[in-house]
Each structure stands twice: as C-alpha cells, then as structure tokens.
C-alpha cells in the first residue's frame, strides 16, 4: 500500500525535519554543534509523559509543557556552559565536547530517575481514530503530527524570512561581530534561539513518542545520529536544507523498511551520509554558508 | 635568461566575479620583483594561485618551465616556492626554533625505524635541522629568541620569523605578502637590508607591498595590478611616472600610499 507508506513516511520525515531544525538553528546562529539536542529531545518526551501521568494534562497542554521544559533546559545549557565558552573564544570543538558530556549526563540522569525500560503514553491520550482520505486510511495521530510540524516549520520560515527578528538572526548567522556593531542584541537572541531550538527538539520528542509508542532514556541517541546525518545532507546551517533533508530521510527510511527489511532501518541514514560525504560534502539540498568569525 | 616564474593569461573567476583577468607576468631568477596595486586589486589571489591554494580558471603558471597548475600546495612548496602571509600565520604555540624547523620538514630524510631507535641518520638530520634553523634565525636577527614562544613576539618580529620559516623550505622563489605591514621605519630599513642579503645568497624574491618607499627601494621590476588586471610593468622609475598607475592610486582612498612623481621620500 504505497499511499499508506507515503503518509507514514511524511509524518516520520516531519519529525526528523523538526528535530533537525532545532539542531540547525543552534549551529547557524550560535555556531555550535549542540550534541545535547538528543537528550533535550528525550527530556521533552518525558516531560510530556510526566505532565500526563502526574497532572492529568490533555495532550495539547502536555506538548506545550514539553516545549517549555525542553526550552528551559536548552536555555540553561546556553547560559551555564555555552556562554562562558563563547567569552573565552574557545575553538569550535570545545563547546561540542561539552555538549557531548551534557547529553550523556542527562541521558543517564533520566535513566536513573525513570528506569531504563520502555514507557508509553497512556492509551486514552492517543487519538485512535483514522480517517479515509482519497481512499487511504490515515490515522488522526499521523495527521496531527504532520499538521503540528508543518505549522511550526511555517512559523519558523516566516519569522526568519519576513520579520525583523528573522533578519537579525540571519545577520548573526553571517557574522556575530558585525551584528553586534549594528546594534543587534546578540546575547538576547542567543538566549531566544537556544530556547526555541531546544523547545522544537522537545516537541519532536513528544511526537516520536506518540508515533512509535515508546519512550526510553536513550531514545535521543539514534535521533541525534540521524539529526547529524540530516544536517550534513541538507548542508550545515541551512534551514531549508534541513527541512528537505529531514523529509527525504523519512521517506528513505520508511521505503527501505517496506522494501528491504526493518533491521537496517537505522543504517539507512548513515549509508546515505557516507555516500553524500564521498560525493558532495556540501550536502544535497543546501548551500553551505561560510561563517565569518 | 629563462623566467623562474611565469604567469600566462591567468584568470580567476568566482561565481560571476572576475577576480583576476588575463594576468601575465614573469619573474627572473636572482631578482627582487614587486606586485603592487590598490587594496582589493587581487594581489594575494595571485599568490594563492601560485602556491596552489586556488586553481586558476584559465591560464598557466610555470616554475622554471614546469607547470604548477593542478598540484597540491605541499607539492608546489617542495618544487621550490615558499611564502609568507598577509595576516601572519606563525605557529603560535611553538618556539621560534620549532617554527623554522617545521619549514625543513621535507629536507629531513629519515623513516620510522630511524626515529624510533634514534639511529645515526635521524640524529644527524635533527642536528642539521637545529643548526640550520639557528642560522636562518640569525639572518633575521632573531637567534637570541630561538627558544621563546612565537606568540610572545611583536608583530614585526613575527613577520621576520615567517620569512625565516619560509627560507627553511629551501625555496628558489620566496613570495613575501606585505612583509613590512605594521612595522616602524627602523624595522623596515632593517628588513630592506636583510632582504638584499637574502637575494645575495641566491634566492629570488617576489613581494606584495603597499609601502612605496620599500618597494621602489628594493624591487628591480614591478608589476601593477588594478581591478584584477595588469596595468603597468617595468622598473621603479617607469612605474612611478606611469599615468595609469598614478590614476589608479589617486582615484582610490588609500591611506598608506603616496606615489607623487618627482618627490623623493
């Protein structure tokens, strides 16, 4: 049922795109490869789960809470770890190493608190119905995921391209020094970007938790690795490229599972990554912007 | 006498931008030549093309008749071309001595067994490297600072270190990119003397510079680049009086340059 698979692929691709967007935003604006994004993604899912279990929150509220909580974590990471490193003008690899440590610490902390076993969202919260669209049976869940993702991505694109704020962010992405000289509140925007990017990651976590009906402390890891593949495929720092590459990966994965076999599904991302690195390191979809320090 | 370095109709396009158009020039062995031009004319790009950091879009670059185009930077250096940089690129965390010894890399002939077991070949080569490095540092009046960290040097001293390091590669052609930028006049006069000495030892020098007194005082032959094109070529007197050159410089807001005919500086 090709059409079925296509919808499947679309919703998975949307989640990948959403995750990659957060990742790319941080890289583009802050100039840091934030490898704790996987952990933040996972934290969002667990935050939503806790909200539903403990506070009996409805799904939409849980998602909002996930956004806020993950965003807060991302903000803290920026203030406590990334900012001092920026002040010190540390070479690029250093902040990345720090975020590796943070990611690991967060993963293990959550594992200690919640246990390593798979958890699920309670089934009452999951929309169960499906609709018939053009003869294809689509679950409301998938539709919801696609809708939420598209809304978020559209808002992001519009903000970046049509607003003053977006212009400021793009200026910072080109050159933070020049942006500062232009009077842009670079530090404030770093905070905002960290918050939003982490928040997007958190929402992506909830969506994947719903899609695959499984939450576990290390769920961010495969996501992180795929996120890496996506942003290299899409060209690092390129927002549009990240979205396209995320969608592309979703399709590639689902189709390969359907026609090749499910055990190598995670390897699809890496296989693509290596092929691309061999042939076109600048990525399939984007144009790499050189950042002037 | 055959040209040591020859650029023939070299162009470099980047996107729609024509950085260099149809540049031809030649440098004779044993001479000091100069490349001047207003800021943004494309001078450092010429050096980047010669040293293989960028490929020319069209045209050929030959060293003693052999084409350099398509070869990797380290291969070009090994053929006998060395350079210094407009924005200084010394190895900051190494001492001066170590910086210069790095330049001798390709001249140290020993393999892994030699270095592991400290065989005679290794020991001799390392000693030769240290001695030669001190010698080169002394040419640049830096030998008393041999064990200092490069990062601690003044601007002018770092530029001299770069020259010593470039000389360590045993080049035939030495490319100097703005060797006196940021130096005071005493240092500049010193360096002029040192460069004449270097030429006296058999090296060929090709330099980019903005300081006219320096260029006119040293170079036997000068090429002038403006907007990516060669607009004049010849000896210092000729260039000084060339109307196109004067216009190129006076037409732009250049702070360091004054090329006024007939006025001695």
């Amino acid at each position: 049922m090709l059409a079925q698979q296509l919808f499947n692929a679309l919703s998975l691709g949307c989640v990948y795109a959403l995750f990659a967007l957060g990742f790319t935003l941080i890289f583009g604006v802050l100039g840091v490869v934030n490898l704790s994004q996987g952990a933040v993604f996972m934290v969002g899912a667990y935050a939503a789960l806790t909200a539903i279990d403990q506070l009996h929150a409805p799904l939409w509220l849980a998602i909002a809470i996930a956004f806020a909580f993950s965003g807060l974590v991302g903000l803290l990471i920026d203030r406590l770890v990334l900012k001092p490193l920026r002040k010190r003008d540390a070479p690029h690899l250093i902040p990345m190493i720090a975020t590796i440590g943070l990611g690991l610490a967060m993963n293990s902390l959550v594992q200690g608190l919640f246990g390593a076993e798979n958890q699920r969202f309670p089934s009452e919260v999951l929309p169960q119905d499906s609709l018939q669209i053009a003869g294809v049976s689509v679950t409301v869940l998938e539709l919801g995921i696609i809708l939420v993702s598209f809304v978020l991505m559209t808002v992001l694109m519009l903000t970046l391209n049509r607003t003053q704020l977006g212009r400021a962010l793009r200026a910072i992405a080109e050159s933070p020094k020049a942006a500062r000289l232009l009077g842009i509140n670079v530090d404030g925007l770093f905070m905002l970007t960290s918050f939003v990017a982490a928040g997007l990651g958190g929402i992506a976590g909830v969506l994947i938790g719903l899609y695959s009906n499984a939450l576990f402390p290390l769920m961010g890891q495969p996501m992180l690795h795929k996120g890496i593949a996506v942003i290299i495929l899409g060209g690092m720092g390129d927002i549009r490229g990240a979205m396209l590459a995320g969608l592309f990966l979703g399709f590639a994965e689902v189709l390969s599972v359907a026609y090749i076999g499910s055990d190598m599904r995670d390897a699809v991302a890496f296989g693509l990554l290596f092929l691309v690195l061999l042939v076109r390191p600048k990525g399939l979809f984007g144009t790499v912007q050189e950042r002037k320090v | 006498m055959t040209d040591l370095l020859k650029l023939t109709n070299v162009s470099r396009h980047f996107g729609g931008l024509k950085v260099l158009q149809d540049v031809s020039l030649s440098v004779q062995p044993g001479t000091i030549s100069g490349l001047i031009g207003p800021n943004g004319a494309g001078k450092t790009t010429v050096f980047n093309l010669i040293t293989g950091l960028l490929p020319p879009t069209t045209g050929d670059i030959t060293l003693d008749g052999t084409s350099l185009v398509g070869r990797k930077p380290h291969q070009i250096t090994r053929s006998g071309v060395a350079r210094t940089f407009q924005n200084i690129r010394v190895f900051k965390e190494m001492t001066l001595l170590e910086n210069v010894i790095v330049g001798m890399h390709r001249h140290l002939h020993y393999g892994v067994p030699g270095l592991v077991f400290a065989l005679p070949k290794y020991r001799a080569a390392e000693k030769r490297a240290r001695d030669r490095a001190r010698e080169l540092l002394s040419w640049m009046k830096l030998e008393h600072k041999a064990d200092d960290l490069a990062d601690n040097l003044s601007y002018g001293a770092q530029r001299r270190l770069e020259i010593a390091r470039a000389l360590a590669t045993e080049p035939r052609l030495l490319l100097l990119d703005e060797p006196v930028a940021g130096m005071n006049s005493t240092e500049k006069t010193e360096l002029m003397r040192e460069i004449v000495n270097i030429r006296g030892r058999g090296y060929t020098i090709f330099m980019i510079e903005h300081d006219m007194r320096f260029v006119m005082g040293l170079c036997e032959r000068i090429s002038v680049l403006n907007f990516g094109k060669i607009i004049a070529e010849g000896g210092p007197e000729q260039i000084r009086n060339d109307p196109q050159v004067i216009e190129a410089y006076l037409g732009r807001e250049d702070d360091e340059v004054s090329v006024t005919p007939g006025v001695a500086e």
Binding site: V81, I100, L104, A105, S108, L109, I232 | M94, L115, L149
Partner: protein, 291 residues
C-alpha cells in the same frame, strides 16, 4: 608482605589491567587530537579489534600473538578505507562523521549475529591476557608516541593542528599525516580491544558505542593533551573513580558526562598541563613579551 601483594592482585588484577587498556584507548584519541582531529570512532575501532581477535581465538584456535596482530590490522584497514573520504572534512564535520561511523559499526555487529552473537555478544573468550601483555603494550605505545613527538612527524602533527594551510605550504603532506594519525590511532584502539576482550572473556555491542567513545574522550581531555602523561592520568582517574565512589557506580555515566563539561569549562588544558605546572612551581617557560 608477599601475601598482601598476592591478595591485592587477586582482587584488583582486573582493575589494574583495565587501567592499562583504558590508557591505550586514551592515547589513541590523544594521537588524533594532537593532529587537530576530533575523531570519535575509536570505540568502534576497539570493537572491531575485540571481535576480530575473539572470533579468531574462539572459533579458529589462533595463537594469541597472531590474533593480536589481526585485531590491530582489521581496524587499521577500516580506518584507511573510511579515512579517505572523511578526513578531508574539517573539525566539526569530521567529529560527526566519525560518530556516525561508530554507530554503523555497532549496527553491523548487531546484524551479523552468526558471527558476532548479535545483541547477546560473545561469551567464553579465552582469558589469554596477562599483566605483562598489558604492560608491554602500554610501554611500547608510550615509547612509540614519545619518539614520534620528537621527530618531524610529531612536529608536522602540531603544525597541522595549529594551522593546516600554513603547514601544507611548508611542504607537509597534510592529508597523509592525518591518515597516519587516524590509522595509527585505530591500530592502538584495536590493540586495546584485543587485550580487553581476552581479559573479561565477554564482549557485547553496547560496550563499543557512544558511551564508550565519550568515556575515552573524557579520559584524554581530563588528563590534558599537552603531554603523553595526560591521557594516562586521565585514564587512571576515570577507571578508578567508580571504584572509589562505590555508591556512584550506577551514575557512572552521569559522572563522566559532568566531568567532561566541568573540565572543558574550568580546566581546558586538562590536569597534566606542563605550562600550568611550571607556573605553579615558579619555573616559567614563557619569556616576557619582547619588543
């Protein structure tokens, strides 16, 4: 006295030997770092070495020395193959590509169940590693790396680490040297893998994944990359830490992660930093800035 030493050894021999293999791993990452590359593939290389040698000794009865050689050769070969496309990437791209590669290796190990036992791992590896294997390995590697540092190769690494372009223009074959550092690092990691597998008689894919890679990185960064002793000291601390803080054993990974962050923030050059130590002991290497 002899009794005490005997008792100590019977209780702690594994720990001491693990210290040795961890030191080897830390040194393997140090090697690539000293050339300016952050390559996060060494845990995977360790795994390749571990599995290759274990399969050979367990299933084919190979003698240990040959298995060691094979366990070093296999990851080196892989390093050469993946090195060519990935080493031309810089900094961040390289780190991520090698991270991703590590995942691929782990997935392949899981998939090749017949050979590797899949998720259940390999059990019953002959315990062939003795203390002198480990000692010899550590001493040999330290010696080799020390000699490299004092040669044109070590200087080339440092030059590349500081400024690749300038290094290339000094006649250094940058790609060749990077490949050397990468492949040699892989060989050392493979050696550590062989020795470790034949010590603990069990290996599983989860041991060679991301967590392990981060742990190795932490050891090296903690100790500092300015001298060869740094990684060894870092390995010492990270290996002993869970033993010293028994109650933290479950949170070992959290500790590792936090240590990494704290070191990066507060002690960027690591613990064993000759410059800092000289300053503290009053012997300053840096002369005053000169005119």
């Amino acid at each position: 006295m002899i009794d005490f030493l005997d008792n100590f050894w019977s209780v702690y021999s594994n720990l001491v030997l693990s210290l040795g293999t961890n030191a080897l791993l830390a040194l393997s990452i140090y090697l690539t770092l000293s050339c300016g590359m952050l390559a996060m593939a060494n845990a995977a290389f360790m795994g390749i070495g571990a599995y290759t040698s274990s399969i050979l000794t367990m299933n084919y009865g190979w003698p240990f020395p040959l298995a060691i050689a094979a366990g070093m050769a296999a990851p080196t070969l892989v390093a050469f193959v993946i090195g060519r496309p990935t080493l031309r990437l810089s900094g961040v791209y390289l780190a991520m590509a090698t991270l991703a590669f590590g995942e691929v290796v782990r997935l392949c190990i899981l998939r090749a169940e017949n050979l590797t036992g899949g998720a259940l791992g390999l059990n019953g590896i002959p315990q062939l590693t003795t203390w002198w294997h480990v000692l010899l390995a550590v001493v040999a590697v330290l010696f080799l790396l020390a000699r490299l540092r004092r040669s044109k190769i070590g200087r080339a690494f440092e030059a590349i680490k500081e400024d690749e372009t300038a290094a290339g223009l000094m006649g250094i074959d940058v790609n060749g040297h990077k490949m050397l550092a990468f492949a040699l690092g892989a060989a050392i990691a493979g050696l550590a893998g062989v020795l470790d597998a034949h010590l603990t008689f069990f290996i599983g894919p989860q041991e060679f994944g991301f967590d392990r890679g981060v742990e190795i990185l932490t050891m090296t960064i903690l100790g500092g990359i300015n001298s060869l002793f740094g990684p060894v000291i870092g390995a010492l601390i990270i290996t002993l830490l869970p033993e010293l803080l028994r109650s933290f054993k479950d949170y070992r990974a959290v500790a590792n992660g936090l240590i990494l962050v704290l070191i990066v923030l507060f002690l960027p050059k690591g613990l064993w930093n000759p410059a800092w130590m000289r300053k503290v002991t009053g012997l300053a290497k840096r002369a005053a800035p000169s005119a």
